[in-house]
Amino acid sequence: MRDENIAMDDIDRKIISATQTGLPLVRNPYHAVAKELGLPAKTVMERMQAMVKNGIIRRIGIIPNHYKLGFKSNGMTVWDVPDEEIDRLGEAIGKLGFVSHCYQRPRHLPEWPYNLFAMVHGKTRNEVLNKAEQIGEIMGDLARAHDILFSDAILKKTGLRLPQAHNSNKE
């Protein structure tokens, strides 16, 4: 093929499409993916190693089902902290073992004053409340306001759609 860049993208896209719902549970999973795609196993492994390195793959592992593991309660804790302190606080909160995600997001004043989000998982609602209190201790006086949003119902839950894999499905 003449245009190596296009060829690369196309191979990566095929690999993404074949693996985004999971790796096969067989002894040589990358060989199985390669066979399905008609590619050498070496190519599949090299491409995936490169994607791990450049961040296209965040990680390879298990996506646990919190609820089934007994973490029946989750609380999205939201905090209003000064913009100039948010990085320091975000990094401190993100290190906590019970925080799965920690993000800075925009405020929508006056209804929504919160700019720091930390997702907390616990076995019970009380456990989540206790953990939120621990976050509050780290925040100290810097948190001007906070709230904990509990999930009452999952209204929809599907896999995240990925752009390149989606494109390749259309081809």
């Binding site: 993404i16 693996t19 999971g22 790796l23 549970l25 002894r27 040589n28 999973p29 990358y30 060989h31 196993a41 492994m45 995936m48 994607m51 450049n54 961040g55 296209i56 793959i57 965040r58 990680r59 390879i60 592992g61 298990i62 996506i63 646990p64 089902n65 089934k68 593991l69 999205m76 990085d87 975000g90 909160i93 993100g94 290190k95 073992g97 019970f98 799965s100 995600h101 920690c102 993000y103 800075q104 997001r105 925009p106 929504w112 709230d147 949003l149 509990f150 999930s151 009452d152 119902a153 209204l155 929809k156 839950k157 599907t158 896999g159 995240l160 759609r161 990925l162 752009p163 390149q164």
Partner: protein
């Protein structure tokens, strides 16, 4: 064997598997063999346990987690203030969009519906959110992440 649907039996080997497979699964000839050795079980047993835990929905997916933004896509979190007596209608309208991957009802807060939207490019997000505003007649609060302080899930079971 059937056990209580909401409580899968997690013995110590399964706990080790879940904790060890949070990330860093190797890209190699025999990655399950390598992982099994670290856990202290055989490759066949690891594969079998992963099959059973998948069936029991102890985990939803095992494999590479792709970064949608690195692939050129866009993701956002959005919220709406939905009146209780209109909740069902709005849920249907929002969920009807394929771009909405997750949607949760949350309380106690005036913003009681929270959903994740992912599209192939940045413009797609605005177009989905404004369509939802038109369809529902409600304001959508767009809260894209501006900075991420942590992603890896540290789950100790």
């Amino acid at each position: 064997m059937k056990h209580r649907a909401d409580l899968p039996i997690l013995d110590s080997a399964n706990r080790r598997i879940i904790n060890m497979l949070q990330g860093g699964f190797p890209v190699s000839e025999s990655p399950y063999q390598e992982t099994a050795t670290r856990i202290g079980i055989s490759e066949d047993e690891l594969l079998w346990r992963l099959e059973v835990m998948k069936t029991d929905q102890v985990y939803s997916r095992f494999g590479p987690l792709y970064n949608a933004e690195a692939l050129g896509g866009a993701v956002t979190l959005a919220a709406m203030k939905v009146p209780d007596d209109d909740f069902e209608r709005v849920t249907e309208l929002v969920n009807a969009h394929d771009e909405v991957s997750h949607n949760y009802r949350r309380s106690p807060t005036p913003l009681n519906m929270w959903f994740v939207v992912s599209t192939e490019d940045k413009n797609g997000i605005n177009s989905v959110l404004s369509t939802i505003e038109q369809e529902t007649g409600l304001k959508v609060y767009n809260m894209p992440k501006q900075k991420e302080y942590f992603l890896k899930l540290k789950l100790f079971v």
